[in-house]
Symmetry: C2
């Protein structure tokens, strides 16, 4: 079959399954999640075997260590997928919740009901665990989904797809509610992101290049997560101990994640006190420092940051540092250079904290907490399908609610407009 | 100046003004709304004069009656603009509201703050009152906006722009928070919908053709309102009197509006009782009836509906009628042919009402109320900038909240990730 015909068939089936899923009650959906977990448990050996095929092919094709690491699916990985499914099953069902139902002068009652988006297309890199995460979230939120994982994980993903299909059917739900694209043909992505009649939203997960390309070519709305150039601003009224702990944690807890700090801003009045202490800790940890002129004069090991540094997501043990006059300069720098992901201020001053919260235009704005907390689990969403840096629809960590929309419901007793 | 340079300048100014507006307190924003109202009141004569220029040019260019009617701005129209401004001033300020602020196990508090979208571009037809409506809603929600009205209303809109600018400045807010495009060059629209660095969302208002064209060409997200093919379903358990009142009102209260009923569905078991009574009322009102075979056999004056009829928004005294077996066929017909705007069921049966509410995938779903209630004022939003048939971000009547987004706020006490 041609790729276009094949994807079209998936689309038709997804649309039909999506209508069924939107009606499915919470009990059935939870049962499906647990049955998928059971299927994973009983197919552990097959899953590892199929994953070995992908790993061997990957090694042969010269994938680097980081990619192979993400591609690997071992027994511990399967257990954590099972745990994830159980966790999503235990979350409250967002679908059907009605809020703000209130009487209007005409006598009608008006409220908003949370409903599934319909069909979600997810495009991601070669990480088999994403297949389960994405399927679980879409299933619980009453959506159908079409999953297109990286071609290097094709055997792993197909094995996982079998388990998902078994689980859905065991719960009496349509197997087509979760469809894993079987072809590694790149044209499939082009079809998926332009099937407006069958797909309601595209969620790309992966590198900036992938997401930019998809956003440009998609005719369907994209909930995108671009880069995370996160800032910590140590204010003149900061508690020095909190400042050092937060700035150190935000940079060094994990380097390759989008909520890691990439640029540290400090109020000039505290910089001489804070920077030498912090720099010592960073340097001991092997973090390369690049700073403004004032920073370099305080820290001899620091090299000069270029204009490009302020706009760079390092995802590595590198940190750019800038000393600013005050909160105004800090906010201006952030609103100009941030990717609108996550920023934090360290301060004990009420008024400045309040200003920072209001005036910084990012998906997460924090006071006295590490940027590393920007995460669906830490925020209590139970799980996340990604972190949106878009302003529309979903912003910040996207959990079950982000995969739903609201429709108005009106309850009347025969009212007509007069 | 070239159109591209001119639009670029508006964009830069809007972005800057948007940052100011996002910080502006409610008092200043309300003062600006009232000062704009004052300015309109004191420039009434000029406004009518300038509108006369547009009307004369329109007549000369052969605009039809409906277009001229919408273009006209008389003293009563100015009074109603003033009243609208006062109404928006009296609404609660959505910006800065924090919801669901709760403690997490880590000790951080997480909530969501409502914030402006930034810069909104609004493209609309030659209706001067939209200039004030749109400006008022954007201003109150803390956004900057760039307004591009139809070229036939250019003199009226420029006169209104002077009043808006006076009001903003009198309240100490930047005049560039509301910019009315001064050129009638069509290239300005092309620039507006592709200035991603300066504009956050495009709201098109007008005919289906305009909205489809803009959606296709825009690189910025569009909150669109396409057509309203609304349905009333008279169920077998309907109260006959309510059914007749609602079906009559939904069709005949106003013909040219998006929340008017275009297709009537009836359960077969009640059709013989209801249809003749209803048809008599419609025919007396001059409504042309087009029905399925069964309908035609009950109503001799009814012509046969074609396949095309079920997908047509008449916006006219024409109604298509279909007799269905039961609620399943009704819901199937709606989910296939509706434009997902507004549908209503007339029934006294609890279970069927509940199913209709859950299973019909439209922006407004009603029980025992006329589709004509789908409206921001009737829903208590205070005002609306349009009715979105999109699923993402805003769905149904779009009021102040639809012009905002949510960012996460995190309040900590020095917490770091461990």
């Amino acid at each position: 079959m041609e790729v276009a015909d094949y994807m079209n068939k998936l689309g038709q089936q997804a649309r039909k399954a999506g209508r069924e899923m939107s009606k499915a009650d919470s009990g059935k959906k939870n049962l499906a999640l647990l049955k998928i977990a059971e299927a994973l448990a009983s197919h552990k050996e097959t899953l590892v075997e199929q994953n070995q095929k992908d790993l061997m092919a990957g090694k042969k094709n010269g994938l680097d260590f980081a990619l192979l690491d993400r591609l690997e699916l071992n027994l511990a990985g399967i257990d954590s997928m099972i745990e994830g499914l159980e966790q999503v099953a235990s979350l409250a069902d967002p679908v059907g919740e009605i809020t703000d139902l209130s009487y209007r002068p005409s006598g009608i009652q008006v409220g908003q009901m949370r409903v599934p988006l319909g069909v979600i297309g997810i495009i991601y890199e070669s990480r088999p665990n994403v297949t389960i995460d994405a399927a679980a979230l879409c299933l619980k939120s009453g959506n159908a989904c079409i999953l297109r994982g990286g071609s290097e994980a094709i055997h792993s993903n197909q094995a996982i797809a079998v388990c998902i299909s078994e689980g859905l059917q065991a719960a009496g739900l349509p197997a087509e509610a979760v469809q894993v694209v079987e072809t590694t043909d790149r044209a499939a992505v082009g079809e998926l992101i332009t099937m407006n009649q069958y797909v309601d939203v595209i969620v790309p997960r992966g590198g900036k290049g992938l997401i930019e390309r998809i956003s440009q070519q998609a005719t369907i709305a994209v909930i995108k997560h671009l880069d995370g150039i996160c800032h910590v601003y140590i204010d003149e009224k900061a508690d020095i101990e909190k400042a050092i702990n937060i700035a150190f944690n935000a940079k060094t807890h994990r380097y390759g994640v989008c909520n890691a700090m990439e640029t540290l801003l400090l109020a000039e009045s505290v910089s001489a006190q804070v920077l030498p202490l912090l720099a010592e800790k960073y340097l001991k940890e092997g973090v390369e420092l690049r700073g403004c002129l004032k920073t370099c004069s305080l820290i001899p090991e620091c090299s000069r940051a270029t204009d490009e540094d302020w706009d760079t997501e390092y995802l590595a043990p590198i940190l750019s540092i800038k000393i600013v006059d005050n909160i105004d300069e800090a906010i201006e720098h952030i609103n100009q250079h941030s990717s609108s992901h996550t920023e934090t201020i360290v301060t004990e001053n009420y008024t400045l904290a309040r200003r920072f919260l209001r005036e910084v235009d990012s998906s997460s704005v924090m006071v006295n907490a590490s940027t590393r907390f920007a995460d669906g689990f830490e925020y209590g969403l139970g799980a996340e399908i990604g972190i949106s840096t878009d302003k529309l629809h979903a912003r910040g960590p996207v959990g079950l609610n982000g995969l739903t929309t609201l429709k108005y419901v009106v309850l009347g007793d025969g009212q007509i407009r007069v």
